[in-house]
């Protein structure tokens, strides 16, 4: 457990450093005419309201995903009304020019800036048409945002990935339902060892013999969810390529699930060890309470950061290696960058499995600690 916390704090540092380096070129992206690696990478690893398929960033082929806003009732329209809307350049008080997309048609009154939707201020009318502006304070708009429940690239990927898992697992289940308890064939033959691995090596190995059954479905779901979505993220074109499991929201939610399961599974022995650690002097017992309470949170926090950092880093490395060609503006660099990107991609296949395994393994470990009976 201590190792995991140490690892997580290291990772936090790493992520902070990473974001710092990436945001540096990103800040003055608009001034540069040249290919901006940081901007391109950030564009790829972050969520979007369109699913870019091919061609230039503006005017290329994209799948325009539905925008769902909750702002005095639900508003649903295509994100095309932003991407094919009106590009507005605004000079902020720090004399930097910011570009945002003002929505047209059903998106009127809203603007898209760095994939965030803002409500525009109405500052009167011109030629009978209302005039909207987005006001900046520094590099951040001051305007309020409507509740954005859009089917973004990550949501679409999430839906596709989940559907894929569902289809795969239901077909495996139907095999067993049809054939009964026989030797597996086809997809079941491939997946059964993995399912058994999760059951035996993850659940059974870490959780009490009599209690692990209850947690196997959760661990299986979390493992396959992470693994399959990791693999989908490695496919460069639609319906893959979204950085879903490298998105902090997803990893936050998954880690929160593990936290909930752990906290609600905790027995007397577990809470006893947190609030009144046995075997140490009373002043130490009191001292340990806040440490243990923080420990409850750091464990899932480490899970969140680990998955996020690993997958995001993988995407960044592959994109950065491919970018070598475009930085040097010479196709000959492909001779270096493509094999390297291929190597990292293959490594990422391993990482995809490993991160799913680790997340499920550590979840099982935390649950196992929570349901462990006192043994004296």
């Amino acid at each position: 457990m201590q190792q995991a916390s140490k690892f997580s704090s290291l990772l936090q540092l790493f992520v902070l450093a990473l974001s710092f380096f990436i945001f540096q070129p990103f800040a003055n992206a608009s001034e540069e005419e040249n290919f901006n690696v940081g901007e391109m990478i950030m564009h790829h690893i972050k969520d979007a309201h369109e699913w870019h398929i091919t061609g230039p960033e503006h005017g290329g082929t994209s799948l325009y995903l539905p925008i769902i806003l909750h702002d005095n009732g639900f508003k649903i329209f295509s994100s095309k009304h932003f991407y094919h809307g009106k590009e507005v350049a605004v000079k902020a008080n720090d004399s930097t020019t910011y570009h945002y997309m003002e929505g047209v048609g059903p998106a009127k009154g809203y603007a898209l800036y760095h994939e965030e939707i803002y409500k525009l201020d109405n500052i009167g009318t011109s030629n009978g048409q209302p005039v909207y502006v987005l006001k900046f304070h520094g590099e951040h708009p001051r305007n309020a945002s409507p509740t954005d429940l859009s089917i973004t690239k990550n949501v679409a990927s999430l839906l596709f990935g989940s559907l894929l898992i569902l289809v795969i697992m239901l077909s495996v289940a139907s095999f067993y339902r049809k054939n009964g308890a026989v030797a597996p064939k086809g997809l079941a033959k491939f997946l059964e060892p993995i399912i058994i691995m999760v059951r035996d090596d993850i659940a059974k190995a870490n959780i009490d013999q009599h209690k692990y059954h209850k947690y196997v479905p959760y661990l299986l779901t979390i493992f396959f969810f992470i693994w399959i979505n990791n693999m989908l993220g490695l496919i460069p074109i639609i319906p893959g390529g979204a950085n879903l499991t490298g998105n902090i929201t997803i990893t936050l939610f998954l880690a929160f699930c593990t936290l909930l399961v752990t906290v609600f599974s905790g027995n007397k022995n577990y809470w006893g060890h947190i609030f009144w650690m046995p075997g140490i002097p009373v002043p130490m017992k009191i001292f340990m309470i806040p440490i243990e309470l923080i420990g409850i949170l750091t464990k899932p926090f480490a899970l969140m950061i680990r998955l996020f950092a690993n997958i995001t880093a993988g995407h960044i490395i592959v994109l950065a290696l491919i970018s070598i060609i475009f930085i040097n503006k010479n196709i000959a660099w492909a001779g270096l960058s493509v094999p390297m990107a291929l190597f990292i991609s293959v490594l990422e296949i391993l990482v995809a499995f490993l991160q799913g395994f680790l997340f499920a393994m550590l979840s099982a470990l935390f649950i196992g600690a929570a349901v462990e009976e006192a043994h004296h």
Binding site: V15, S19, I22, F23, M42, I45, K46, D47, I68, H114, E115, E116, T147, D148, L149, S150, I151, T152, N154, V155, L158, L159, S162, I165, L166, M169, L170, V172, A173, Y176, R177, G180, A181, V182, A183, A188, E192, I195, I196, R199, V216, P217, Y218, L220, T221, F224, F225, N247, I248, T249, I250, L252, F253, L254, C257, F308, T312
Partner: protein
């Protein structure tokens, strides 16, 4: 900073989709799959146990058979031995009986021979005695045919008496 800040919309969708996925998978996928796997594992365990049990039973049966065979063999040997002994004793008996019989026959034959012999001897003795008497009568008749001869004999007899 939005790279490391959670997004509300995505969080809502993730919560919804993941919960639904967990529910559907748990109910329609993991349950039948794990049940089937467990049932099969149990079946295999039972089959293995049965095989082990059968093996032990077979071994016990074999041991029993061996025991029976051994007993039977011992019994056979015993019977053979006894039969041999019986035969031997019978032969011995027969032999000794035959010997006895033979002995008896020989004995009676000997007795017969002896008695025959005795009878023959007695007859011969009688015959010899008669002959002797006849001879003695003839000799005496001749000896005593004259007075000289009677005197000589009387002298000789008297001398013999003296010697005694």
């Amino acid at each position: 900073m939005d790279l490391i800040l959670p997004d509300f919309g995505l969080l809502v969708w993730t919560g919804l989709v993941f919960s639904l996925l967990l529910f559907l998978l748990a109910k329609f996928a993991w349950k039948p799959i794990l049940n089937a796997v467990n049932t099969r594992e149990q079946k295999i365990t039972e089959a293995l146990e049965l095989a082990e049990k059968t093996k032990t039973e077979m071994q016990a049966l074999k041991a029993e058979n061996d025991q029976i065979l051994k007993t039977a063999r011992a019994e056979r040997d015993q019977i053979l031995k006894e039969a041999k002994e019986a035969a031997n004793s019978m032969i011995e008996d027969a032999k000794s009986k035959a010997k006895d019989e033979a002995g008896k026959i020989v004995e009676s034959a000997r007795q017969n021979i002896n008695s025959e012999k005795a009878a023959a001897m007695a007859e011969i003795k009688n015959h010899v005695a008669n002959l002797s008497l006849e001879i003695a009568e003839k000799v005496v008749r001749q000896e005593l045919s004259s007075d000289d001869k009677q005197k000589a004999l009387a002298t000789q007899l008297a001398g013999e008496i003296k010697m005694n």
